[in-house]
């Protein structure tokens, strides 16, 4: 959602906000609708949408197409979080409304939660897009569309050169943007999605090379304290933990579990 045209503040993305969020969830839904329309025109038969922001029930059904072949995953937590429902039956995946990784000079940049300072897999710094692309890749599914701000779109397109990127805005620091209008963004996403469908034959699943090593640097010591409790995690610094696996999916699952237990480490009385 943070990568939706016009979005530049947490209030716009926070489901508890009653002033701005109701408007921006509508804009988010309309961008998703534009991507669906492009996919359909590009030949997609079945479309599965996974609402993947915050509490993960943002999409407004009255703004989605009336379509018997569309299914929508809503709610949280889900075992595979933003990638729930994806399996080897899928021909391709789209990432819409994505944001840059924690530490990037970009709009609302973060990686899953503000408890995470940096994530690397096999020494590659990872955004949510890259981690999720690798999970799709573990099922043999390529990511062919990424939309969001220029920072995440360009970084992802470098890692996934077969993907279509639609940069709907440029970041001006963390909480300001120079954006397309929502209308123009939808047109660009619609066209980009259509083009992305045409690229599927040339697209490749994104994978890291096994064996896999995940390093999570946390914002504070307290989050690393909690993550270290989980089997398989090794403390490698006061604010760093590591997890090794021969397969990517267990590593990704461990990452999701780590983000969740880290979130529980918020300061307490």
């Amino acid at each position: 959602m943070e990568g939706t045209a016009g979005v530049c503040s947490w209030k716009q993305c926070d489901p508890s906000d009653t002033q701005e969020y109701p408007h921006y969830r509508r804009l988010m839904t309309r961008e998703v609708r534009a991507a669906i329309a492009g996919a359909r025109e590009g030949g997609a038969r079945h479309v599965l949408v996974n609402d993947s922001h915050w509490s993960m029930h943002n999409l407004l059904f009255d703004e989605l197409p009336d379509d018997d072949e569309l299914r929508v995953i809503s709610g949280a937590p889900k075992p595979w979080s933003m990638m729930e429902g994806l399996d080897s039956e899928c021909a391709a995946a789209f990432f819409t409304g994505y944001h840059a990784k924690a530490g990037d000079a970009a709009t609302l940049a973060h990686t899953y939660s503000e408890a995470i300072y940096r994530v690397t897999v096999n020494e590659t710094a990872c955004s949510e897009a890259l981690l999720n692309a690798a999970l799709a890749g573990s099922h043999g599914v390529p990511v062919v569309l990424i939309t969001g701000d220029r920072a995440i779109v360009e970084e992802t397109a470098r890692a996934l050169p077969w993907a279509v990127g639609v940069a709907v805005k440029d970041a001006i620091g963390f909480s300001a943007v120079n954006s397309m209008t929502p209308h123009s963004a939808r047109e660009a996403i619609h066209a980009g999605a259509r083009e992305a469908m045409a690229r599927i034959p040339r697209a490749r699943p994104f994978t890291f090379a096994p064996p896999f090593e995940l390093t999570i640097e946390t914002a504070g010591v307290e989050q690393a304290d909690f993550i270290e409790l989980m089997p398989g995690f090794v403390r490698v610094g006061s604010r760093a933990v590591r997890f090794n696996a021969d397969e990517y999916r267990p590593l990704h699952a461990a990452f999701i579990a780590a983000t969740r237990i880290a979130a529980a480490a918020a300061p307490i009385a």
């Binding site: 937590p77 409790l229 989980m230 089997p231 398989g232 995690f233 999701i256 969740r260 237990i261 529980a264």
Partner: protein, 268 residues
């Protein structure tokens, strides 16, 4: 703290709100701990380490404590109530313990987190906090010597560890009432049994689980089990249950702490 003489209600042990009752009962708690220390000393203990293990784990009134002990104070310790189990001590006391989640006639019974943990079994043995904690001590070759609390709790520990001396400070009447010794009487009994426990430490045994160690946890809700099942190595064994198996008990113990910490994040 729930197993201190007279305690029968959450507000008496609620350090976070806190209720005026808490100020009274933390004093009784400190006095029972001090009685156990005095007994240990009389029995010949040299180094004494006290681990405050209730709620936010900073309940003891430090100025009321003997000056020749060390005190572990504060929260989120990796080994929680048995932090520094590996520090080479010759024996351990559990003072003011309570029954396991689901125990009948055990005042304020629960297992770590009442809203998350329904039941814990290891190698098919139903576990209270005392069981889980004694097993970590046993893992590091430290025997449990003394348990104090209500009758159900003490009997539960002694059924699993018959060498442990017990002080039954009260009988529980359901979950929120007790027929108790006075605090002064419970302190005398605790001091006496603590001394005997240290004198008899040579006969104590280690409580350990044999590997492979199979941890079965039943959560209160299916949503908690779904989330906890994502911990690396965990398996969902039922709509509200998970299982984890490992050869090393210290790893199992940490994984159990991760279980309730993660389970507690599920919005209810």
């Amino acid at each position: 703290m729930e197993g201190i003489a007279g305690v029968c209600a959450w507000e008496q042990v609620d350090a976070r709100t806190p209720h005026p009752e808490y100020a009274i009962y933390r004093r009784y708690y400190t006095q029972e701990v001090n009685s156990a220390i005095a007994g240990a000393r009389a029995g010949g203990a040299s180094d004494v380490l006290v681990n405050d293990s209730h709620g936010p784990m900073r309940n003891l009134e430090l100025e009321e404590m003997p000056h020749d002990v060390r005190i572990i104070f504060g929260n989120r310790k990796p080994s929680s109530m048995v932090q520094d189990a590996d520090a080479g001590f010759d024996g351990a006391f559990f003072v003011g313990y309570h029954g396991a989640a689901g125990d009948a006639d055990a005042v304020l019974c629960h297992t770590y987190t009442p809203s998350v943990i329904y039941e814990v079994c290891i190698n098919d043995v139903r576990c209270s906090e005392a069981t889980l904690n004694a097993a970590l001590l046993g893992h590091y070759r430290v025997p449990l010597l003394l348990v104090t609390g209500d009758r159900t709790t003490v009997a539960g520990v002694q059924a699993q560890m018959p060498w442990v001396r017990g002080v039954i400070v009260k009988d529980s009447i359901g979950t929120f009432a007790s027929a108790s010794m006075t605090p002064a009487a419970s302190c005398r009994a605790t001091r006496r049994e603590a001394e005997a426990a240290v004198r008899g430490a040579g006969e104590a045994k280690l409580f350990r689980f044999d590997p492979p160690i199979v941890l079965d946890v039943q959560l209160v809700t299916a949503a908690q089990a779904q989330l906890v099942a994502t911990i690396p190595g965990f398996e969902r064994t039922g709509s509200r249950s998970v299982q984890f198996t490992h050869a090393d008990y210290a790893t199992v113990f940490k994984a159990f702490i991760a279980t309730w910490r993660l389970g507690a994040t599920v919005p209810s």
